[in-house]
Amino acid sequence: MGMKIGLGLYPHLLTQENFRYASQVGATHVVAHLPGWSSRGHRPVPADHPWTLDELRELRAAVNEAGLELAAIENFEPHHWSDVLLDGPRKVEQMAGLKTIIRNMGRAGIPVMGYNFSLAGVYGRTTGPWARGGAKSVGYVRDQAPAPDEIPNGTVWNMVVDADAPAGTIGRVSQDQLWSRFRWFLEELIPVAEEAGVRLALHPDDPPLEELRGTARLVWKPELYRRVFDLVPSDCNMAEFCQGTVSEMNGDIDVYQAIEEFTAAGKIAYVHFRNVRGKVPDYHEMFVDDGDVDMVRALRLYHQNGFDGVLIPDHTPGLECAAPWHAGMAYAIGWMRATIALIERNEA
């Protein structure tokens, strides 16, 4: 069993057609990016209703039917846990819902829940023809980023969870406040995850700024992952290791050292494998073979330190053709498949 390649699919892409495409390009696993998803097709379901066992089983069965494994679910609905993030009045009630989701995932045999404990979420990035051949990619460019205004009431992750919220903003949220909310989240949920056999995998903050929109960010330097793991030590307290985000981190950061450390510690649940050029506050996402990071070396480090989990390409610049995203992902996966095979037979 070596490293495995997965394809991350957004809710509208969770279709048999895309599962076939994933298999064709040699992916064996799927990561389902679930917010916005409804197993009932276009019929709306309450966004705050915790995913049921039937819904999760149905999702996994659909993936399995196509010959693929469901490696993880990525991201709760903002409605599932907005007050957990905001320390609001419904946090205990919402936590009960999160526990239900984790237990249902365990019963449905879905092994990993990827999440991002963030208020501002992925904010402020812009799009431009920055990748090779003028391919459209995203990046964070200080001079082009929208103003980091404080977050309006009723909003997390750039999504409105309470349209009736009073005017005004959530104000400033300090590092201490954020870590205290996060500690409560882990202390409540990790025991449930352990019992359910589901690993909780934390994504770092993208863009990895110390503060955004007046709110602290949790993991904006690699060493903060150590603090996360020490906070509630558990085999279920893990990283959704976004190598792209770690590469974007500013300061004296060594992405290779971070890969080695957290892989050797057994703390990486799965990897977002993408390349960038630059660092915050100025970076652009690139094609897999075309950024600042030596991706062959990176894959070698995962392998040498015993990683046998799933890597997904995460993002891709859009290719100029009828299927910009799919073709871009196909390119990344083709590159990854060749390189991983060579590394695992000690030829790279």
Binding site: Q24, C321, A348
Partner: protein
């Protein structure tokens, strides 16, 4: 060795797509977009220069242009006389000579071509991973045993027509400093009896060796279709590497169709590069060891109903090839 792509449609959109994927070398099969080919089949140098300039804008170089001698069935050929030995062949060869001179004048280094009568016969498709359909050939399933419009074509007939052509065009290519890259016969057919009475003499490694020996010229060589060579072999995994070393070390590999198969002589599927019988990394190393220096381009890709334009399949193959090249080159530069 380096990444390349063979393109039948050189719109700006397609060029940008290729540039985005890191392609820097193009084999151009499109003589229409830049009005390279005149109605009478001759080429104009301005058209050739236009396509070069357009590729240059995207940081890409036109390494190869396709002569109008495609891998098509004989009745669909623009110049059918050459391989059928018809009276029209002399005037056809004059046009090819003009094409070669125009290519040299434009400063393009290589022309690819086929010496083909049967097109590319196949016997259906095999279902592959994710429901992709792999082009399939199994001689036992071949049903049409009628003679073709060319009647029986013995090996001797075929060689005579090939030699007649080469003796006339290779000297022109030398003078124009344009290399001629011939594609072998896809697929190999029974050496005795041929297919529909046609003996495909460029459908064996021995035939390819004889072919290059016909003219001792540095401008006479191969569009080395690794897939087709695999289809000639009982054991592609070993024989293909030997063939690469043989032709590469003699300076005869002018470009490569880099694709893989499962199976071998007279029975095979055209599969994805990572699941065939030939170790594609070993192949890259064999090219490099042999001293070859040419573009590796994906050729046929599996058919997919979820990818009608083939963009995803080609992007996949280019990414895969790019990684093999990147690793092979970095190991050698250590």
């Amino acid at each position: 060795m380096y990444l390349g792509h063979q393109m039948g449609n050189l719109t700006e959109e397609r060029l940008q797509w290729a540039a985005q994927l890191g392609v820097q070398h193009i084999a151009c099969e499109d003589r229409r977009t830049d009005s390279i080919e005149n109605e009478d089949g001759t080429w104009n140098v301005d058209g050739l220069r236009r396509v070069q300039a357009r590729c240059d804008n995207w940081g890409m170089k036109v390494d190869v242009i396709a002569l109008n001698l495609p891998s098509q069935y004989m009745t669909r050929q623009r110049f059918p006389g050459i391989m059928r030995g018809l009276a029209s062949r002399d005037s056809e060869i004059e046009i090819i000579k003009q094409n070669i001179r125009a290519t040299g004048e434009a400063g393009i280094a290589c022309l690819k071509y086929n010496l083909n009568l049967l097109g590319v016969p196949r016997t259906g498709r095999t279902k592959g991973r994710g429901g992709a359909m792999y082009s399939h050939f199994d001689i036992s399933k071949w049903e049409d045993h009628s003679l073709t419009e060319a009647g029986p074509v013995s090996p001797e007939d075929m060689w005579a027509n090939i030699e007649y052509f080469l003796e006339r065009v290779v000297p022109v290519a030398e003078e124009a400093r344009v290399r001629l890259a011939c594609h072998p016969h896809d697929p190999a057919v029974p050496h005795v009896g041929g297919l529909r009475g046609v003996h495909c003499v460029l459908g064996s490694v021995d035939g390819m060796k004889r072919f290059i020996d016909i003219m001792p010229s540095a401008y006479h060589g191969l569009n080395f279709c690794q897939g087709t060579v695999s289809e000639m072999c009982i054991d592609p995994a070993t024989e293909v590497l030997e063939a690469i070393r043989y032709f590469g070390s003699r300076g005869k590999i002018f470009m490569v169709h880099f694709r893989n198969i499962r199976g071998g002589f007279l029975n095979f599927d055209e599969v994805y590069p990572d699941e065939g019988d030939v170790d594609m990394f070993a192949a890259v190393n064999a090219y490099l060891d042999s001293g070859a220096n040419a573009m590796l381009c994906p050729d046929h890709v599996p058919h997919s109903e979820v990818d009608p334009h083939g963009d995803k399949q080609f992007s996949y193959c280019l990414g895969h090839t790019k990684a093999l090249l990147q690793v092979a080159h970095s190991l050698r530069s250590r």
